[in-house]
């Protein structure tokens, strides 16, 4: 142990192409590209001008919420209450607007309430120490209950056209919806946060070994709280978009969306046990699900069948990892007589010494 460095280390044990290509994220991106090519070639009207617009508009809430959800799951937690926050935010926008508030003001209140919902989740999980699965199943019911309670079975639909146009409009003459602009900004923010910041390193450490993270000075509780708050705010924003896009604020908006979000995150290569996964894989996962849903709809397949396809895909994707490990384990099994590499001298020495 000298005080001056004597050893040199290669930064990576694998060449670049292996590190980039032989990953779960690359596999899911490749699969997404294949499915898009298949859809373009085989599905009538998939190459039409409206397909991209509707595909992105439909998947935008999932894309948005998948960003914070990825970070939450990497810490080993989960947030099941996101769809209920979408519903609550939608109802608040409707009720407050009906009560005379402008759309931006009502939206701001909805975002604040989203942050408050996330804070409730975060405090219960991070500081009280309850399991996030239980906490967010509870708040899933709680937030949805409040949302439905506020508006009953009615809907608020009289939003100013300027705002609904904003939600359904596209960027210039292209077929890219306007909602992709704030989404792109959030992608940049979350990518930097997860992959290029000390905070993000802490997120992975917490998921891999929370106790060691605490011993190294990572603010475990604070990190989790921040993630749940982000999840709440982004879900509330998705709720605003959802409401304005359909021009309808209802208590049951986006029911069940949390499962689609989580399915996409897991499909994108994030480990449900925490510590593993990358954002680009998750985005590919969301797009893959969106493309399959869109293509099957154009084929005239019912939603039930689409759900079956996506469910099977998710299970296959989870199983495939284990399968690959098993197969490569079998292949490495030594064959009889493959001991030629054993140094002859040491064998002899052992034989003479041991006998």
């Amino acid at each position: 142990m000298s005080s001056t460095p004597t050893r040199a280390y290669a930064p990576y044990s694998q060449p670049l192409w292996k590190r980039v290509l032989l990953t779960r994220e690359s596999a899911i991106i490749a699969l997404t590209v294949v499915v898009i090519c298949w859809a373009l070639a085989a599905v009538p009207n998939f190459d039409g001008p409206l397909t991209l617009k509707y595909l992105l508009q439909d998947t935008a809430p999932i894309l948005l919420i998948a960003l914070p959800m990825t970070l939450v799951i990497i810490t080993g937690e989960i947030d099941l209450s996101v769809a209920s926050i979408v519903g609550l935010s939608s109802v608040l926008l409707g009720v407050l607007h009906q009560g005379g508030m402008s759309v931006p003001a009502a939206g701001a209140v909805a975002l604040l309430v989203g942050a408050a919902c996330g804070t409730l989740n975060g405090v219960l999980v991070a500081y009280v120490g309850l399991p996030s699965l239980a906490v967010t199943i509870g708040t899933l019911a709680l937030f949805r209950g409040v949302a439905v309670g506020l508006l009953g079975t009615t809907a608020v639909t009289d939003f100013p056209e300027a705002w609904t146009d904003l939600a359904t409009g596209t960027v210039g003459e292209s077929s890219v919806p306007l909602v992709m602009v704030p989404f792109a900004a959030l992608v940049v923010v979350f990518t930097l946060l997860l992959h290029f910041s000390p905070f993000g390193r802490g997120v992975y450490d917490i998921g891999l070994n929370g106790e060691a993270a605490r011993f190294s000075g990572v603010h475990v509780a604070r990190t989790k709280l921040v993630l749940f708050v982000l999840s709440g705010v982004v879900s509330a924003f998705a709720g605003l978009y959802f409401t304005l896009r359909f021009g309808s604020a209802r208590g049951d908006n986006a029911t069940g969306l949390e499962l689609q979000v989580i399915a996409a995150v897991l499909l994108g290569g994030v480990s449900i046990f925490g510590g593993r996964g990358r954002l680009h894989g998750v985005l590919a996962g969301v797009v893959l699900i969106g493309v399959i849903a869109s293509a099957l709809r154009l084929e005239g397949v019912t939603v039930n069948v689409t759900n079956i396809v996506i469910g099977v895909l998710l299970i296959v994707s989870v199983v495939s990892g284990a399968l690959v490990a098993y197969v490569s384990g079998r292949l490495r099994r030594p064959r009889p007589g493959s001991s030629a590499e054993a140094p002859e001298t040491s064998s002899r020495r052992a034989a003479s010494a041991g006998a």
Binding site: M1, S2, S13, R201, A212, S339, A353, A355
Partner: protein, 524 residues
């Protein structure tokens, strides 16, 4: 028993067995020949490949090459169930029993004797367990739950399981590490009687007195390769140690006197109800203060409270004159503290993260530019520290799981030295580390003290404390019962202070038996 006729078929025979994890070769050429009716010691530094070899025999890992023969027949295990079916039993340092089941159910797990209508025949099970315990000469109630058994008794349960399976080969991986003197003797008696029944035993240990007391033959491994096999009767500790490290072991405790500076750590009246009471002490710059005492006396708990991992009820901690807020490791780090905890795998490092992420794990906040952190910056910061500690790894992105215990400990130390601390708290600095790395760690601690870093060292190895510390604080039942200068700190003085409140800590004598002193002294 050391000499066997040449025509005896060995119970276990490994020839040139190889195993690699990615680019890391854990075992280059594992060779081990164990005769029936013998106890065979397997020794080597951590990272020598002993554990890998055992796991291959146990069916945990699949070998990449080489021969594995049981009773002269080539075998190939894909799972631990297959190795068990072939009569191989492995007893680990800390057995994993089902705590809520009875010891009998643990023994017969998965193969309960069945009575009429396939009902589990409990009476037969208990009778058989009682017979096993009698044969092993131990008094354990077959109906009691496994929960609360001492580690020694848990090992006995594992041995009973192995015997009831009629295992012909028992491998014991550091079974005595957590046992007291009496328990070790009992284990040895059991091992000898199993040997006399004609079974083969492999015994892995870092304690040479035990190796020589128990074993007939000893095989030495180094850097994943077979080195030599000797009958214990015709070799010596010095020869074995020389073969293990491939060089003469340098002075084991090279503490050089350093000039003491101002107080760095001042702890006043620290109290945590039921854990420790009114703990006050000072550590000066350049000083190594040893915290000695029985296991369970509260040494680690004091360190955890000082560092802010645990909260305390009363008292104060000051670093370089400034109060350190309680309950925040981050605040302690910013004040200049570093803490190498007791449990490397759970607390010391993120075992599934890369060397680079681990080494840069505490300082990464200061590596960020404009809040942005890149892998390049982490690598650039981690490489010199890893190098300074001579961490053995192929590349900086290798996960810590692939490394030996000694190398993992170096990663933990590198991570904390990178913070350039004023105080280093180090809990069990050399637990589970081989002789060579041990000496490196001791040299490093001495060097750090020489550079003016204050060091608080907790150790259960008395020779380590006495050899390294300028001052020894003895903790007994949560109180500091002695503050001994280096000259006054004799094993007798420390033991006396450590047992001042005779009570329920008799089970925690680990590391303070005379038998512990012997091997380390012999190794130096």
């Amino acid at each position: 028993m050391a000499e066997h006729p040449a025509d005896v078929v060995p119970t276990l025979e490994l020839r040139g067995v190889r195993k690699a994890f990615g680019p890391v070769v854990a075992l280059r050429s594992g060779t081990l020949v164990v005769a029936p009716g013998s106890i065979h010691a397997l020794v080597g530094e951590n990272g020598a490949g002993k554990s890998t070899l055992v796991k291959i025999v146990a069916g945990v890992y699949r070998r990449d090459g080489g021969e594995l023969l049981l009773d002269g027949r080539p075998v190939d295990f894909g799972s631990t169930a297959e190795s068990k079916a072939h009569g191989v039993a492995v007893i680990y340092q800390e057995p994993t029993l089902f705590p809520d089941l009875s010891v009998t159910e643990n023994i017969f797990m998965g193969r309960h004797p069945l009575g009429a209508l396939r009902r589990i025949d409990r009476a037969a099970m208990y009778a058989e367990a009682a017979r096993l315990f009698e044969r092993l000469g131990v008094r354990i109630d077959p109906r009691r739950k496994a929960e609360g058994l001492s580690i020694a008794d848990q090992q006995i349960i594992e041995i009973a399981k192995a015997i009831s399976l009629d295992a012909r080969l028992l491998i014991m991986d550091e079974p005595t590490a957590a046992l007291s003197g009496v328990e070790v003797e009992r284990l040895f008696a059991v091992a000898r009687s199993l040997r006399d029944e004609g079974r083969a035993l492999v015994f892995i240990s870092h304690r040479f007195d035990e190796v020589f007391a128990l074993c007939d033959t000893v095989t030495v491994m180094r850097d994943g390769e077979y080195v030599a096999t000797h009958p214990t009767a015709s070799t010596s500790v010095d020869r074995i140690v020389a073969a293990m490290v491939g060089r003469d072991v340098a002075e084991l405790f090279p503490k050089t006197p350093a000039a003491l500076g101002d107080p760095v750590l001042e702890v006043q009246g620290l109290t945590s109800a039921g854990v420790f009471q009114d703990v006050s002490f000072t550590v000066r710059a350049g000083e190594i203060v040893g915290l000695a005492g029985l296991v369970g006396a509260g040494r680690s708990e004091i360190a955890r409270a000082v560092f802010g991992v645990d909260r305390y009820d009363a008292g104060s901690v000051r670093l370089a004159g400034k109060p350190v807020p309680p309950g925040s490791p981050r605040a302690a780090i910013e004040a200049g503290m570093a803490f190498v905890p007791e449990d490397r795998r759970r607390q010391g490092l993120v075992i599934d993260a890369s060397v680079s992420r681990n080494v840069a794990g505490v300082i990464r906040g200061s590596l960020a530019r404009l809040g942005l952190l890149t892998a390049r910056a982490e690598n650039a910061a981690a490489a010199p520290w890893a190098s300074r500690l001579e961490v053995k790894t192929g590349a900086l992105d290798m996960h810590a799981t692939t490394m030996s215990g000694g190398n993992q400990q170096k990663v933990v130390i590198a991570k904390w030295l990178a913070t350039e601390p004023r105080l280093l708290i180090i809990d069990e600095p050399t637990r589970g580390i081989d002789v060579g790395t041990k000496a490196e760690v001791h040299r490093l601690l001495s060097e750090l003290a020489g550079r003016g870093i204050a060091i608080l060292m907790i150790s259960s190895e008395l020779p380590e404390v006495l050899g390294m510390a300028d001052r020894v604080l003895v903790v007994a039942e949560g109180r500091i019962t002695a503050d001994l200068a280096r000259e006054e700190a004799t094993p007798e003085a420390v033991m006396l202070a450590a047992t001042q409140h005779p009570g329920h800590h008799a089970a925690g004598l680990q590391g303070h038996r005379p038998s512990d002193v012997a091997p380390t002294e012999a190794a130096s």
